[in-house]
């Protein structure tokens, strides 16, 4: 058998994205896990654990976003639909069924289920169209939900929103159980993301991302696959939305359905590395505490500078680290390691087709 052509072994572009970075990621994740579990025990100040709770909520939401959008390539700007729906479901159910205290947490599976159910008609409509239209549909559905929250006042409480049921926990340790619940959600979401990634299902999703028509041609049931991922993403997001509602004790249409929420998720995923599992985690862990901290600074509160700063961060990330921090640092480290090695000969260039396509070879009968 003739020898196969060489290909450049330059790792920065040719190695599979996971090649160098597992060591980086594996170690990092383990450390994060340990820190995460110990966190509220070490930092008992509620002001600090507050950061933890909200950061983990966003880790969950960003990971859920990535499970669908990162793998399929369909950028969803409608996750708030699920988030707010989860929040409102918990609020409405707790109010109508007169629940309070810790029993309210039993509603969480219901809220997640509501998210999955909403994802079905939402997905069936939105996933039939091409990418740009999909984004806009998610925005449109988002606004429809926000407006319903405003208008269906008898159910949703209208502009004043809903208050959460009473929870008689002491103020000093109020945050801690929420922290661990959020942590459980985050860990669960990450586990699901990992399972999806290594499964046949995940492979089909990523093939759809690269070339949907070809994937269909090869027998991938695209709608089924996309819809399933969308439902999983929706369920997780709705669940964590309910947790968020109970933690903050209230929800209004503009907080439950907040356009900035959606764009923040995208930014988090991109900051950490779009499509990867640890990407959104890292992104959320950086951006959420940062945003919270900025809001506590007097010169930033009231919005204007925070917005400008957020916008500037977006721009910097997108323009200079388009693949996100983790892949970019992975590549950076690789570059440093590769500096000593000899240059590798690049792949053989393709030759032009031997033999001209037209006339002379036909008439002259030469090309045998």
């Amino acid at each position: 058998m003739s020898e196969s052509p060489t290909v450049s072994k330059s790792p920065t572009s040719h190695r599979a994205a996971t090649d160098l970075t597992p060591a980086l990621k594996g170690g990092g994740l383990l450390a994060l896990l340990a820190i995460a579990i110990a966190f509220p025990q070490v930092f008992t100040n509620p002001a600090v654990t507050n950061y933890g709770v909200l950061a983990l909520i966003f880790v969950t939401a960003a990971t859920a976003w990535n499970i669908f959008s990162g793998n399929s390539g369909y950028i969803s700007l409608g996750q708030a639909v699920f988030y707010g729906s989860g929040a409102y479901t918990m609020g409405i159910a707790a109010r109508d069924w007169h629940l309070e205290g810790t029993t309210v947490f039993a509603l969480l599976p219901l809220c997640a289920a509501v998210g999955a159910v909403i994802a079905v008609p939402f997905g069936l409509i939105a996933l039939r169209v091409r990418r740009h239209t999909f984004i806009v549909i998610t925005i449109a559905v988002f606004f429809i939900f926000q407006l319903m929250a405003f208008n269906l006042a008898s159910i949703t409480g209208g502009t004043s929103g809903l208050d959460s049921p009473f929870l008689s926990w002491p103020a000093a340790s109020y945050n801690t159980p929420f922290y661990y619940i959020a942590f459980a959600f985050a860990a669960g979401a990450i586990a699901i993301a990992w399972l999806v990634r290594r499964s046949r299902f995940g492979l089909q999703l990523r093939a759809i991302r690269d070339d949907e028509d070809r994937a269909r041609g090869l027998g991938v049931k695209a709608m089924r696959v996309k819809l399933s991922a969308f439902m999983i993403s929706g369920a997780i997001t709705a669940g964590i939305g309910a947790v968020w509602f109970y933690y903050l004790n209230q929800v209004q249409p503009q907080t439950g359905f907040d356009p900035i929420f959606d764009l923040t998720l995208v930014l988090m995923a991109f900051l950490g590395g779009y499509g990867s599992i640890s990407g959104p985690v890292l992104g959320a862990l950086i951006i959420e505490p940062l945003t919270l901290w900025l809001n506590t600074q007097p010169q930033f509160s009231g919005g204007a500078l925070a917005e400008i700063l957020l916008g500037a961060i977006f721009l910097i990330v997108v323009l200079f680290m388009p693949r996100g921090i983790i892949p970019t640092s992975g590549e950076f480290i690789t570059k440093i390691r590769m500096r000593g090695r000899a240059a590798i000969i690049p792949a053989t260039t393709m030759g032009t087709a031997a033999g001209a396509p037209s006339t002379p070879s036909v008439t002259s009968g030469g090309a045998r």
């Binding site: 925005i139 690269d210 028509d213 995208v266 204007a304 400008i308």
Partner: protein, 292 residues
């Protein structure tokens, strides 16, 4: 009742024309650069604030002020494209351009907030409060003036697209960027200028919007969502589609507002969803391949 409906339809058409102008800018940008310019809403508001500044500080008439604001916004558009959008390439271009244009929107919004705060403003001039008596109701002159302005500018854009060499380059690039490059069209220049034009129209749209609505720095969100729905419905990249769909959507909303003021906007979005179920490419959209 019929008088009300008639008025709603007429106002809908008039206002729809203005939205058409802004939507045309957005759809052109999409057609040539293949990006969704989320900043378009905020840029309209910026146009409104610019007109406000000119009219209150320099006492320049709203329409006359456009001679300044339109070129200024055009320049802004070209700069934004040059600085941020030009270099976006690669597999995740859609998401990246979304983030970038949103970032630009946030920054502009933040700056405006810093200068003007959260107060509601409206543009006023001697003629914004006067109306003309039509049938049995009153129609504010500004609606008619704004409509004429908008249609005039849309006509200019049409002429630009279909009667000039530049316009031909734009249309060629919209059809097939690679082919356009092959025949020697400077695609980057076309992109920059198109972005400039797309933003320039927001100056005019902003002025009329500001003269017919109270606005503040947050008004951009509502605007961009409507504009997006409009261009999707009309078919992304289709200038004629944007025109038809603006007038249609705004008129429908205007009429529905008579009976259900709170729900009219939901009808707006629901219409989008319904049409897309039946016809995923919008009224006049092209059938596109799904792969990026």
């Amino acid at each position: 009742m019929t008088q009300e409906i008639l008025r709603a339809i007429i106002v809908g058409i008039l206002v729809g024309g203005v939205y058409a102008l802004m939507a045309v800018g957005l759809t052109l940008i999409f057609g040539v650069l293949d990006i969704i310019n989320i900043a378009q809403g905020v840029l309209v508001i910026l146009g409104a604030y610019l007109s406000y500044a000119l009219s209150t500080k320099a006492h320049i008439d709203l329409f006359v002020g456009l001679l300044i604001t339109i070129p200024a916004m055009f320049a802004l558009g070209v700069v934004i494209h040059w600085a941020f959008i030009r270099r976006l390439r690669g597999t995740e271009r859609t998401a990246m351009t979304l983030l970038v244009t949103y970032a630009v929107a946030l920054i502009i919004e933040g700056i405006l907030y810093k200068i003007y705060g959260a107060d509601n403003l409206a543009l006023s001039a001697s003629y914004t409060a006067t109306s003309v008596h039509v049938f049995s109701f009153y129609l504010p002159w500004i609606y008619i003036d704004g409509f004429i302005l908008a249609i005039g500018l849309v006509a200019v854009i049409y002429a630009l697209l279909y009667r000039t060499k530049f316009g031909r380059s734009v249309r060629a690039t919209m059809q097939d960027e690679t082919a356009a490059r092959l025949v020697g069209i400077d695609v980057n220049r076309v992109a920059a200028l198109t972005f400039g034009i797309g933003v320039a129209v927001t100056a005019a749209g902003g002025m009329v919007y500001g003269a017919t609505n109270a606005f503040n720095t947050n008004s951009g969100y509502d605007l961009i969502s409507r504009l997006l729905a409009i261009i999707i419905l009309g078919g992304m990249g289709s200038v004629g589609g944007a025109l038809v769909s603006s007038v249609f959507m705004i008129t429908v909303e205007s009429v529905v507002t008579i009976w259900y003021p709170d729900w009219a906007i939901v009808v707006f979005y629901a219409a989008l969803v319904v049409v897309l179920i039946a016809r995923p490419t919008g009224f006049f959209g092209r059938k596109e391949v799904r792969a990026q």
